[in-house]
């Protein structure tokens, strides 16, 4: 049985039946020790997915339907307070912006310590010792002296390490990291990713890593989920995605990676942009930007069809099929 | 100086802390709290003639002679007086065994020192202007020699206006407003918290004047039956009444008509109508146009409906009376009263047309006491009917009186004459002598007053006063709107309270 099972998750903005969705009918599973990378452009719903699973959606965004099953329990069933109980202990999250994600006027030690005390029931001394260990674990030098530091006294990379320490404090089963390195220098990015991978491997927790950087995906992922405009476009294990991307969007994404052998002279970009919330086309949401679009693409949402043992694609004409069809014409 | 005062302040503070607030219910005596409108400018009786000060100081200090229930001078600290045949030397025999609050016995030295002090710094110097010398004849005899014969000398020496209080000689040596509050009165000073309260307590060694059997005005037998009295200063009328109704105070010095009406229906309170308490006067400035014109002044008088004026400003506690003494006075007469309260616009317009008034705006100054502002407002509305435009200038008392004491900047000024009618016709006249109130001397008034002060013949005095009153109307020197009174309210626990010029706390008991 999978550790995390997400079923038909739909998240909408506002109330009412016709409220526009930012996430529609998303399902996937994740096992302990697995790393799932969620990729997509801005506006694809990656962060919404993370927040929905964490139960951190803020008014007026809300989960309209779907279940989130963690270790066999549906965490959506118990209401907000039960969900809150899960956070920190079972689910934990690292945010994109280390500069603003830490409380600016609270000492670093306290920001870690409060999780230990309030979520793990540790006493002040134990919590302090554990906080030092955590800071050491995330490779912050002179850890014990950093407990008294305020976030603004730390560099961006250091802050993100603190964030990781905070997220790890209550030893979660699932860690969601929402573009944890986007805001950092390139050299720091690699260090943080290494750290995350090490910790993940060591603790055996599941990691859901949200990124738009396919390089990171190649580096970190076991499984990949491509989101487009709130829907799953393609889901596959990492090799399949890179070897045989089957959704036109996935292909476009891969094509847009600047690679050394392309000579750097032509950067492929995807024309157009992700449609805004509430302005979604009726059929396939990628249809307006899709080079292979046909009329039937616009009639209804394409189902997420199994393409191989480790690959599902939401396209009426996944890669191979399209080619065949074209060949026949 | 400041060091000693600091010590004093500290001692007061300590006293307050030690004594604390006495519980309202006690076996005997008890404490009466009086709600007053405002605090006294000073408790040095010589330097203020403000009524708020008088209310308190006349409990602490006494004078040689004092006014009885009928406002006549009778012996208080003195046993009596003998006047020399030429009427110039008054020899006061002092009561023996009178103690100051500091335990010292009062002797002639104290009296001489106090009167000398008053001559130097007293704020009503007219009271002692006739004095030539003051000397101690013996420890219990003081002789005062006058420069000229003065029919009202005993009236003056007994005046409660800014009383010629007898202080211990060492206090009398101090400057204005610098004394310690030590007197011979039935109450002694405990503390003064400005903007809050003054507390007095029964003077245990007080010896009531043996010449009297009962309370009599500000003289008589002053027997204190309570332990303490506190004057609490509450500016807000509603808050004063509320304090009474919640039992925090037992006496309210003055309430407004509607409140009095309401409280009268409640058996828990006794409402005392102190009427008449004062004249309401509209002073006219004879030095400034157009009120320099007698026809204009008469037009104003003719236009006014005094019932309206008095009923709006002092509802339910006024007398529509144009006499320049109180109605029950022996001097009361009806000279000139045909010109009072005419309330006839046609007649007013007739006077106006004879006057030099040309439609200019006239200025009515008043302090911000509500009834005074009300009167200005009513006069303004009435005069508008005859085409006279009135501008009302409301300011606080210092500003208003500053303007009112000068010859320019005002035409009308209204306020109460409280102590003058109480003291009698002589004092009322003096307000208009030399153009004091009206800014231009009226030779006729001056002549009448001079003769009045010089004569000892009662019939002549009455005749002169009648002339005075006639002149007040014929020259429309000032407009008397009427008499007003005070509603004083006591809780039913306060027994034997008889209202007077001041809320006397001797002879009063407090039921538990």
């Amino acid at each position: 049985m999978s550790m995390l099972k997400v079923e038909n998750l739909t998240t909408v903005v506002g109330s009412g039946v016709s409220a526009p969705s930012v996430l529609e009918d998303v399902s996937f599973t994740l096992d302990a020790g697995e790393v799932l990378c969620v990729v997509g452009e801005s506006g694809s719903g990656k962060s919404m997915l993370a927040l929905t699973i964490m139960g951190l959606l803020g008014f007026p965004v809300r989960r309209a339907s779907g279940r989130i099953i963690l270790d066999g329990d549906d965490i959506t069933a118990g209401g907000a307070s039960a969900w809150r109980q899960r956070r920190g202990r079972d689910l934990s999250m690292i945010f994109q912006e280390p500069m603003t994600s830490l409380n600016p006027i609270m000492r670093v030690g306290e920001q870690i310590g409060e999780v230990l005390r309030m979520r793990k029931g540790m006493g002040a001394d134990t919590a302090r010792r554990r906080a030092i260990e955590l800071l050491e674990r995330v490779e912050i030098p002179a850890a014990s002296s950093r407990l008294a530091a305020f976030p603004h006294e730390l560099s961006g990379g250091m802050r993100q390490r603190v964030m990781i320490a905070v997220a790890l404090a209550a030893e979660p089963k699932l860690l969601i990291a929402d573009e944890p390195t986007t805001a950092l220098d390139v050299t720091i990015q690699a260090q943080i990713l290494d750290l995350l991978r090490d910790i993940q491997a060591e603790s055996g927790m599941a990691l859901m890593l949200i990124t738009h950087d396919l390089g990171v995906v190649a580096e970190m992922a076991h499984k990949v989920m491509v989101l487009y405009a709130g829907r799953v476009a393609e889901m596959a294990d990492v090799e399949t995605v890179f070897d045989a991307p089957s959704h036109p969007y996935t292909q476009a994404l891969l094509a847009s990676i600047p690679s050394l052998d392309s000579g750097g002279d032509r950067l492929v970009t995807i024309p157009g942009s992700v449609p805004g919330v509430g302005l979604m086309p009726k059929g396939c949401r990628f249809a307006p930007r899709c080079p292979h679009v046909k009329d039937d693409c616009r009639s209804g949402p394409p189902p997420l069809a199994m393409l191989g043992p480790a690959q599902r694609v939401a396209c009426l004409r996944p890669f191979g099929y399209v080619r065949r069809e074209e060949g026949r014409v | 100086m400041s060091l000693r005062l600091k010590g004093l302040a500290f001692a007061f503070g300590l006293m307050t802390a030690l004594v604390g607030v006495t519980p309202a219910v006690e076996a005997a005596g008890g404490e009466i709290v009086i709600a007053s409108v405002q605090g006294p400018p000073s408790l040095d009786a010589h330097v203020t003639n403000a009524q708020v000060a008088r209310n308190i100081t006349l409990h602490i200090y006494e004078t040689l002679y004092a006014r009885n229930e009928n406002a006549e001078p009778v012996p208080d600290l003195a046993e009596g007086v003998s006047v020399s045949d030429d009427g110039l030397t008054y020899t006061f025999k002092l009561r023996q065994g009178v103690k100051f609050h500091n335990g010292k016995e009062m002797t002639s030295a104290d009296v001489v020192a106090s009167i000398e002090r008053y001559r130097k710094i007293g704020v009503s110097p007219a009271l002692v202007a006739a004095i030539d010398t003051v000397s101690a004849v013996s420890p219990y005899e003081v002789a005062i020699k006058l420069k000229v014969k003065q029919s009202v000398f005993l009236d003056n020496i007994s005046s409660p206006r800014a009383p010629i209080a007898i202080y211990p000689a060492e206090e009398a040596a101090k400057g204005a407003n610098e004394i310690q509050y030590i007197g011979t009165g039935p109450f002694k000073f405990v503390e003064y918290k400005p903007d809050s309260h003054v507390t007095l307590e029964k003077f245990a060694d007080y010896v009531p004047n043996p010449a009297y059997q009962k309370r009599d005005g500000l003289a008589g037998k002053k027997e204190v039956l309570i332990d303490r009295v506190t004057f609490r200063f509450i500016p807000e009328a509603g808050a004063r009444t509320a304090a009474l109704e919640s039992g925090a105070v037992q006496i309210v010095e003055t309430v407004d008509g509607p409140t009095a009406e309401r409280l009268r229906k409640d058996s828990k309170y006794v409402v005392h109508d102190v009427l008449p308490f004062a004249f309401q006067v509209i002073k006219l400035n004879h030095a400034q146009a157009p009120s320099d014109d007698v026809n204009f002044r008469k037009a104003v008088q003719a236009a006014l409906d005094m019932q309206e004026v008095m009923e709006i400003s002092y509802s339910g506690i006024n007398q529509v009376d144009g006499g320049w003494v109180f109605p029950k006075s022996a001097f009361a007469n009806d000279a000139g009263l045909d010109q009072y309260n005419v309330a006839d616009f046609d007649k007013a317009k007739e006077f106006l047309s004879k006057s030099s008034y040309k439609g200019e705006t006239v200025t009515f100054i008043t302090d911000n006491l509500r009834p005074n502002v009300d009167i200005a407002t009513v006069v303004q509305a009435r005069l508008a009917e005859i085409g006279v435009k009135v501008d009302i200038k409301v300011a606080d008392w210092p500003t208003t009186s500053k303007i009112g004491f000068t010859k320019t900047g005002w035409n009308f000024w209204t306020h109460g004459f409280g102590i003058e009618p109480f003291e009698g016709p002589g004092t009322v006249m003096s307000a208009f002598v030399g153009g004091n109130a009206q800014m231009v001397a009226d030779p006729e008034i001056d002549r009448i007053a001079k003769e009045f002060y010089a004569t000892l013949d009662d019939a002549k005095k009455k005749e002169l006063f009648k002339q005075f009153q006639q002149r007040m109307y014929d020259n429309m020197v000032a407009i008397k709107a009427g008499n007003y009174g005070l509603f004083q309210v006591t809780s039913d626990k306060v027994k034997d309270f008889v209202p007077f010029r001041i809320p006397r706390m001797w002879g009063v008991t407090l039921a538990p």
């Binding site: 951190l56 803020g58 809150r84 109980q85 956070r87 920190g88 945010f95 603003t100 409380n103 600016p104 006027i105 609270m106 999780v115 309030m118 979520r119 305020f150 603004h152 964030m163 905070v166 209550a170 | 600091k6 302040a9 802390a17 604390g20 607030v21 400018p41 000073s42 330097v47 203020t48 003639n49 403000a50 710094i121 704020v123 009503s124 400057g175 407003n177 610098e178 918290k193 400005p194 903007d195 809050s196 509450i234 807000e236 808050a239 004063r240 509320a242 304090a243 919640s246 925090a248 606080d396 008392w397 210092p398 500003t399 009186s401 500053k402 009112g404 306020h415 004459f417 409280g418 307000a431």
Partner: protein, 314 residues
């Protein structure tokens, strides 16, 4: 830190000097003099002149001014003409009541205002938010003296629960003291509750939308804890700014409340001083209030640095 304090204290000097000049201007502009309080209308101009001399008021204004500055520099605010005590003693005697009243009102205003504002912010857009904020707006639209009068009528006269005024020293009668402070405190606080509630709400809305609040939420901490431990301290800066402004304003409003409820505080002392032309009291009182006002500002600035480690005192 010491340098900062020193510089702040020095910068206060010109302000105090200007205020003292203004208070002299006030004295020169206002007609009338202290004698008026002693004298009724029957007094003659000669009586007035005599008393002026007695009270030592006949010196030319510039001489008085020079003397005054000379004394103030030695810490002596002079002697009250009417009260016969040093101005400083008069002020210090009244100050506890005014400070107490202002402090109680401030505590009530901040406590209630912050609670209401926070409550509203966490329920943004709901009917609860709208009701609380409407009440806050109503509060700051009420004329305070009028409210005081209504409170007297209802709670003192009609219900008889609380005294209508007057001050009971705390040490004499604690219960009486508490009762005597209730209505004045409420009257003084109502307007400020409205201000603080509005400020708090908007500051909290800012904070709630910030990333670190989501971080706190992601830790699974309880909602109340997050608001109190993470939200409020971060919203404190603007709240503190408003509180500082209010603390200054309370000194002025206390004047009115002291008048309505017959409380012997500094405000009434100064009003009394103005109405009786007790010049030393006016000058000393205004100077003193200014000093307190400036002190409040300094304390607020110091608190900024305490609350937010990012603030550097410079």
């Amino acid at each position: 830190m010491r340098d900062y304090l020193l510089r702040r204290l020095i910068s206060v000097v010109p302000v105090l000097f200007l205020v003292s000049l203004m208070s002299f201007a006030v004295i020169w502009i206002i007609p009338g003099d202290p004698t008026a309080a002693f004298l009724d209308a029957s007094s003659t101009p000669e009586d007035v002149a005599r008393l002026r001399e007695m009270l030592g008021l006949d010196k030319p204004p510039l001489v008085q001014m020079a003397e005054w500055y000379g004394r103030v520099l030695t810490g002596d605010l002079g002697q009250s003409i009417l009260l016969r005590i040093p101005v400083l003693s008069a002020i210090l005697e009244r100050l506890p009541l005014t400070l107490l009243l202002a402090t109680l009102a401030l505590i009530l205003a901040v406590g209630l205002g912050v609670a209401a504002g926070t409550f509203a912010a966490t329920r943004r857009g709901t009917w609860a938010d709208q009701s609380v904020m409407s009440l806050a707006l109503l509060g700051l639209s009420v004329p305070d003296f009028w409210l005081g009068l209504l409170l007297i009528v209802v709670f003192s006269v009609q219900l008889g629960w609380l005294p209508s005024g007057g001050y009971v020293p705390l040490l004499d009668d604690p219960l009486g003291w508490a009762k005597s402070m209730v209505l004045p405190t409420i009257t003084l606080a109502v307007v400020q509750v409205g201000f603080i509630a509005r400020m708090t709400r908007s500051a909290m809305l800012d904070v709630i939308s910030q990333d670190f609040m989501r971080t706190a939420d992601s830790k699974g901490l309880s909602g109340l804890y997050i608001i109190l431990r993470h939200g409020l301290p971060n919203a404190m800066m603007p709240i503190l700014t408003v509180t500082g402004i209010i603390a200054g304003a309370l000194l002025g409003s206390a004047v009115v409340v002291e008048q309505v409820f017959a409380l012997p505080g500094v405000g009434r002392l100064i009003i009394g001083g103005i109405l009786s032309r007790d010049y030393p009291i006016i000058q000393g009182g205004l100077l003193f209030l200014t000093v307190i006002y400036l002190l409040i500002n300094l304390v607020v600035d110091l608190l900024y640095a305490t609350i937010d480690p990012r603030v550097r005192l410079e």
